[in-house]
């Protein structure tokens, strides 16, 4: 293509097309149709995220509750030991 033809091509008045349309390969079409499955396997669903968050929150709440209960029990045990230790005073 000479300079004049190039200028005509740029203006769109040249008959010959520089580039012809290409058909995508069947492999590419397969890759494109597989996109939803690929994304589904890599993206975590929002419902799963909410369930996980709820489980973690429940676990934390259970731990706090257990710790609180254990503290109460420990306090009671300590008071009982003091009572036993000083029980002789009651006999005086």
């Amino acid at each position: 293509m000479n300079m004049e033809n190039f200028e005509n091509w740029i203006e769109g008045t040249h008959k010959e097309e520089l580039v012809t349309r290409t058909t995508p390969s069947s492999e590419l079409l397969q890759r494109l149709h597989a996109i939803p499955n690929q994304i589904a396997s890599t993206v975590v669903k929002p419902s799963f995220m909410w369930i996980s968050a709820a489980c973690i929150a429940a676990l934390i709440a259970f731990n706090i509750f257990s710790l609180d209960k254990q503290n109460d029990q420990l306090e009671n045990t300590t008071i009982n030991s003091y009572d036993n230790y000083f029980s002789y005073i009651q006999h005086l």
Partner: protein, 197 residues
């Protein structure tokens, strides 16, 4: 040159809300050909163009629920493709700056840098050298001028369609095309001047 398959935007929007996977397969069947050929203008080799096409359709699938029924489906797809192609060209230019690029050996022994490997499957072998020069000149245009020129001259879109795709006014498209053509002619004139001297 353009041969769009028409998908009704309203029914597509409903389908995208009801069954996004089925709506997506409709997109692939209707526009894979069109998008692949557009990607080839930005990434003029089969491998890069296929990867770019896959990126475009992945973005379309992820955003399928955001499609508003007030625009053409093809316009929406073109907008995604243009944005992804710009990203691709930017990444290639960045790689070129960091030293990963292809060099073209000219007849006179000088080497000219070309950011993207050129092996366009839609170019006849006898036109390959000229096409490579044209593509390099197109690549050097400012973003908007390049997009407008590719969409009009290579993809066969009307100025009205380009203004919708690029979300700009008709007069802006006319101005972009005028400047793109002028710059391309100057670049190619310089090339022929260098070649003949």
């Amino acid at each position: 040159m353009s041969s769009d398959i028409h998908i009704d935007p309203i029914s597509f929007q409903k389908e995208a809300q009801r069954n996004p996977d089925r709506a997506f397969h409709m997109l692939v069947n209707a526009y894979s050909h069109m998008i692949f050929n557009l990607c080839l203008q930005y990434a003029p080799n089969k491998m890069d163009a296929e990867d770019l096409t896959q990126e475009v359709f992945t973005a379309a699938y992820k955003n399928i629920h955001t499609f508003k029924g007030n625009a053409k489906v093809s316009t929406w797809m073109y907008s995604i493709a243009i944005n992804k192609s710009k990203e691709f060209v930017r990444n290639q230019s960045r790689q070129k700056r960091s030293g990963i690029h292809v060099e073209i050996q000219h007849e006179d022994g000088s080497e000219k840098e070309f950011a993207i490997h050129f092996d366009h499957p839609g170019v006849k072998l006898e036109n390959k050298e000229e096409a490579q020069i044209v593509f390099k000149a197109i690549e050097s245009l400012p973003d908007n001028q390049r997009d407008a020129f590719i969409l009009h001259r290579i993809d066969g879109k009307s100025y009205e369609e380009i203004s919708e795709i690029l979300d700009t006014s008709l007069s802006s498209v006319e101005s972009l095309m005028f400047r793109a053509k002028k710059k391309l002619k100057d670049l190619l004139h310089d090339y022929y001047h260098e070649k003949n001297s």
